[in-house]
Structures are given as C-alpha cells and as structure tokens.
Amino acid sequence: MNLFEGYDPGIFYDEMFAADGGVRNHCSLLQDRFRDTDPRDFLARKASSELYFLRQGITFNVYHDDRGTERIFPFDPIPRVMPAGEWEHLEAGLTQRIVALNLFLHDIYHDQRILKDGVIPRFYIEQAKHYRPEFRGVDVPADIYIHICGSDLIRGADGQYYVLEDNGRCPSGASYLLENRNALKRAFPGIFDAMGVRPVDSYPSDLLDMLHHISPRRDDKPVCVLLTPGCHNSAYFEHCYLAREMGIDIVEGGDLVVVDQFVYMRTTRGLRRVDVIYRRIDDDFIDPVVFRKDSVLGVPGLMNAYRAGNVALANAVGTGVADDKVIYYFVPRIIEYYLGQKPILPNVPTYLASEENDLKFILGHLPELVVKAANESGGYGMLMGPTASKQQIEEFRERIIADPRNYIAQPVVSLSRSPTWCDGAIEGRHIDLRPYIIYGKDVKIVPGGLTRVALTKDSLIVNSSQGGGSKDTWVLRH
C-alpha cells in the first residue's frame, strides 16, 4: 500500500507536491522512501519516537490550566524538506533583520534618531508596553540587545516567504528542534546521509559562544547561568535541556544574590561570581527593586549590577519594544533606515488600528481579518475573523475601539501545507517555521528551525498551547 495514496494537496502551497500533483524535486528521495514503507512499519517507528519523547519527559505545561498538566509535544514524523537555495535566501533575510533590529534598539535607548527623523512616530515607542525608558543611555555589553531571536516565517499560496512576527524577548522551542532531530534519527536512520541533510547540533555551542562573547569579564573564563522562572513554567524542560547541553548551571531567582553591584550564585562552598545570565524570565519580574515589587522570581538588585556593567543579560532588558506587533509594521522601514537596503524578507501586509484609515478598514472587514493584540504571544489574544463567532467579533470590535494602540490586523494568509500523519492517513496540514537566530560575535542560524504544524484540520494556529505539533526541518546541502 502506498502511504501517500489519495493525498490531496488542495488549493494551498504544498511543501512536497507541486500544483500539478508531481513530487517536488528536493522531496523525491524522501517521498520514495516513505512511499515504500509498510504502514505498520511506519506506525511502529512513529510509536518508537513518541516513546522516546515520553521517556525523556519532553513535555510542556499548558497555560491557563490550573492542574499544571504536562503534555507531550505532538511530533509528526514526516519531515519538512527545504532545498539549499531557499535556505540561503532565508538566512540572508533573517541576518539582515536581526542586525537592523539591534541597531534600532541601540538607537531607541540612546539618541532616538529614528524618532527625530520622523520614520516612526514617537507615540508608538513611548506607548509600547515593553519600552523601558529607565534604560535610556545605558550601554549594554557588546552593544547587542537581541541575542536570540525567533522570527516566525510563513509561506503564502504563491510559495513566497513572509515574516509573521519577531520574538525578541524569550523565544522558546529550540530544544524541540534538537530533540525532533534526535527522535527522527532513531526512527529513520540512514536516510539523512542519503539526502544530504545539514546537522543542527551546533545550536547549544553557538549559544554558549554567544554568552561568552558578551561577558563583561574579558580576562577569565566567564561564568554563565540560565535563569529560569522555575519548574512550573511551560518551557522548563527546555531550560534544563539547554543548560545541560551547554554545561552551565540552571538557576532560579533565589539562587542569585547581588552584593555591591556584582551578581553571585549561592553554592555549597559559598558565593560564586556570575558574569552572564541567559534569562528566561520577563523584564517585569527580573528585579523586584526596579520592576514588579512582589516578584519572587527575580533577583533584587540585579538591575543595578546590570547598569554598572558587571553582568550581561541575554536578551537585554527592553527588547520587547522591537517585537511589539505595532513596531513590526515598521520593521521594513527600520531595515531601510539603518542599513540602506531593501528588506529581503517581506512582512505580511498589516493594518494599524491606531491609524484612522486603517481602523476604518479593520472595523469594516473584521470577518476577513486576523486581529492580534500587540503584546501577546503563543496564539493568545487573537481573533481569526473567518472562523470566529459573531459574538467574538463584536467583543474584539469593542476592544479595538477602546484601545486601538494595542491592536493590529492582517489578511488571513493561507499558510503552506506539509504532508502530515493524521490518524491513519497522510493529509496536508498548515505549517510555519521558527528559525533561531543567535547574534554574538557573528550571526549564526542553525539550518532550518522548528517547523510547527497545526494538527487540527484546516486550522491555521500552530502554537503548542493551541493544538499545534512540530516536525523536523531538513535543510539540504545542495
């Protein structure tokens, strides 16, 4: 039996099949291999990869779920394959973008030339929820703000890639990218070499190189730690995983103390100086002295040490102003302003509710648009016009009118699809791509990224908290 029998690419851009139903060139070897696999054998291999996830405890906690339930991140064993040329294009576009965003953040926290030149209205920055005016004039180590960026890429019906959003605070999911590869290598060994799949396992060492690069202490081997909110956080598995892969300590707020503007960790042998903190805690919670007073997750006095230049943070404080969904609208202009280049990767067309004409358009077309809150992530705070109920649409209408600065709208992009195992058959499911861009001495991006897949039929929401799963992403050498 052919696993792909009866597969219908539909009207969408399909990553494996061309519009005429033929297999795309770069997928032919993979398709051959899967086509000839006995379905029972395929299922056994799929089960073995799932067992691997379960036994490793590769799970995530669901937000807004009081029981703190752990779930296994659903994994689809059919990889998404990308030819070398496509990846080169993405790599260039993402590099351009992270360089521009960092120049933008430096400017916003120093001279604000881009505001003075009127490229972005000042109002948008000053009203941005994650803008931290108290850090204006502070120089950050190595002048880097966003060290790790997870930019979400989608592909429209014409096959064109777009940037959907930038995640420049605490982008999550890199551990799944690495573990997906491990699981697939166990399930389908042999095929990787034949197809010329580029490895991804340098991610932890790239990350560690970056952390070393930004250390304020140059003369010695810097002490780096990963600061986690704790084991109830949805990404706790990832925090442990990355810390272990890098061979650094994973710490909680209570493990760190600040003495005379230096940060130390409490060890069984007393205090040990810390130079670099890869933090996975929001700005608001990181230091109760400066931000939320009641936070027990953070470290009192940390911001003083940071301002004094005695400790580096990745990502820096205040980067959220760059991944605000309203500022997203301006990123193509930001690229042109600082680099004098045309953006390599376009944005999805976006309407700002705070602009009068756009607002009129948005309110008139709610059932056709996707509306997003400026500062939410993970698929929360979002309206999918075409599938929303009348009541939901009216609720959003009121919210938008009440707080236009906080909303943007975009046309629905019918994301590309990839063949996915769905309860006994292979069917097309919508996917996106989250590459992880590391900005240290150089910009490094492991080939591919995390391909997220909306497992529910026809759904366009790929977030793990909303019924999404993931796939391994294969970038080919040629």
Binding site: G230, D255, T267, K293, V296
Partner: protein, 346 residues
C-alpha cells in the same frame, strides 16, 4: 554546586528511599498476617495500628480514616494522594525534585524515575494495588534499587553524589528505627509485663523488611528482640543498620567539607560524629535499659537535627550571606502561577 541543587538531589534520593522502605514495611506486614490466619478483626487492627504509629502519621491518618484496618492503612500508605508521605506521593515528589535538576542527572537515571512515576499513575498500578499488592510493592522496590544502581554507576563521585548519599543514608537510618519501633506498638502477648513482644514472628518480619534475614542468620542463630535490635542498630557492617548508615553520613559530610574524619568544621559534623561514637561504643543492653521506644525516638530526633544542620550549613548559610529580604509568595500556587506567567514566546 548550587545550594538549591544540592538540597534537591538530597531530597530526590530521600524520597525514593522513603518509597522503597514504605513498600517493604507494608509488604512484610501483609505477609506476616498470612502466617496468622486465626486473627479476628480486633487483633488484626492491632497489627496495622503500629505501622501508622511508627511512621509518626497517626494524627493525619485519623483525620482521614475512622479506623486502622488493613485496607485503610494500605490505601493510606500506598496511593492516597492526601498523604504527602504515601508511596505515590513520595515518588511524585522525587520526580518533581529530579525534574528541577534534570540537567544534573544522567538520561538513564531520569528515565528510570520517570518510568516509576508513570507506573504509579497507571491503571496497571491501580489494579495491582487492588488485586495483587505484593507485586505492586515488588515493582516499586525493584525500580527504587534500579534507580540507586543507575545513580551509583552514572554519577561522578563529586558533591552531587555526596549529597545524594547523605539523603539516602539519613532516610534509611530513620526508617530502620521505625521498623524496629513497630515492635514497641504491637499488642503484647500473654506476659503483659514485657513492653516488647517477644514473638519470634514479629522480629523475623522486621528482619525481612530490611532484607536482613539471611545476613542476621549468618551471625546469630536465635531470633530474639535483643539480637535483632543489636544487629539493626549497632552492626557496623550491615548496610541498613543505623550504625552503618551514620558511618556513611559521616563519610559524606567530611568529603563535602574536606575536613579530616574524627574532626569537625561545622555543627552537622559535630552532631554526626557524636552520634557515631554513641553507636560505635554503645550496647544493646543500654538501649533496652533505657527503653527501646525511647531509645529509637531519641535516635530519630538526632537524625532530624542532622538533617536540619545540613540544610543550615549548605543551603541557608546564614553567616555567609547578608539577609536579602525576599518577599515570601503568598502560597506555592501563587508562585506556580508566576512561573507559568513568564512568557516563553512559543
């Protein structure tokens, strides 16, 4: 090593050891009852009540259950989620601790504990508790010793290991005294004068629960109260005797601090050294002279003091760190909420 990590490893192993010991305690009592078929329900209760008393949980137990029959006690100690010291609770806590120091553990070690956790949550486990408890307890014990075996063969002999060993032997010493204490609570036989039942069956059951029957027979022919107490408290060689466990605790503590044995550099080493001397030079006659129950109770208090002193010396460190007033979270669930709220842009 981070103080919190040391503390977490210590508790992870303590909880596994606790689950293992509980499984032994219940299983042996059950088998003991098989030998005494003629018991009426009144006498039967007399056998389960001591188990609850020896664990020190009688108040909590009676707030949930009216009487201490076999099914209530088994339920309470095995998989009652309301009992924070039930076997399933201990395993869940051990795994929760392991999860927070996952980066310190070998994959195999984590997998074993995670597999045990998944087992205790499974339908299979539920059925076994109801229909074939001995197999359930055997499964728990086997997994617990596998866990310790994997730990022994995949953990570097550094501080992590020392703190894990500390947790294991402190818990084990405590549980051995509790096994012995069961005897103090057993209904006395015909000669009411004896506080401790001389019933041969009880003492061999206690030996069996410590896996010590064979080792005991190798050095002693007759099973007697004094002989068993002497063996399980004062033997320098048997790995579940209090003396042996305290010896190991002393070794671990001195490895951690680097202080030569026989000397001390902090409170916990001093307390342990003193206890070790009492065990090395004490005798079973003195123990019975002072009253077995009182003697065991005093040992348990000294273990608690050692546990607290470890925490003070290596985790709290009041002398070395200026108090940094950290606001207390209103509750652990509030803390969990905050941890969850931290956006991980997924």
């Amino acid at each position: 090593m981070l103080s919190r990590v040391a503390n977490t490893l210590y508790w992870m192993v303590r909880y596994v050891e606790r689950a293992d010991n509980l499984a032994r305690l219940i299983d042996v009592n059950q088998q003991l009852l098989l030998d005494s078929e003629s018991l009426d329900s009144e006498r039967l209760r007399g056998f389960w009540q001591p188990i609850i008393l020896s664990t020190g949980d009688e108040e909590a137990f009676h707030s949930i259950y009216d009487q201490a029959g076999s099914s209530e006690v088994i339920r309470y100690l095995t998989d009652d989620p309301r009992n924070p010291n039930s076997i399933t609770s201990c395993i869940a806590l051990a795994r929760e601790n392991a999860r927070t120091v996952r980066d310190q553990l070998s994959d195999e070690l984590w997998e074993e504990l995670n597999a045990l956790y998944l087992f205790t949550r499974s339908r299979e486990a539920e059925n076994l508790v109801a229909s074939d408890p001995p197999r359930y307890y055997e499964r728990v014990r086997r997994s617990a010793v596998t866990f310790l075996g994997i730990a022994a063969s995949t953990t570097s002999r550094d501080e992590a290991w020392d703190f894990m060993d500390l947790g294991r032997y402190l818990e084990r010493a405590d549980k051995t005294t509790r096994f012995l204490d069961v005897a103090s609570y057993l209904p006395s036989g015909e000669d009411d004068a004896a506080v401790v039942s001389s019933d041969h069956l009880h003492w061999s059951a206690i030996l069996r629960s410590c896996g010590a029957l064979g080792a005991f027979r190798a050095v002693e022919r007759q099973i007697s109260a004094k002989g068993v107490v002497d063996f399980l408290v004062f033997s320098p060689h048997f790995p579940r005797s209090v003396h042996y466990c305290v010896e190991r605790i002393d070794v671990s503590l001195h490895r951690i601090s680097g202080t030569p044995r026989g000397t001390f550099s902090n409170k916990v080493e001093r307390e342990t050294g003193r206890l070790l001397a009492d065990l090395a030079f004490g005798s079973v006659d003195e123990a019975f002279g002072a009253g077995l129950h009182e003697c065991l109770d005093a040992l348990q208090q000294r273990f608690n003091a050692i546990g607290e002193a470890v925490f003070e010396s290596y985790v709290l460190m009041p002398d070395r760190i200026q108090a940094n007033a950290v606001p207390e979270p209103r509750s652990s669930s509030a803390l969990a909420m905050w941890q969850m709220q931290q956006q991980q842009q997924q």
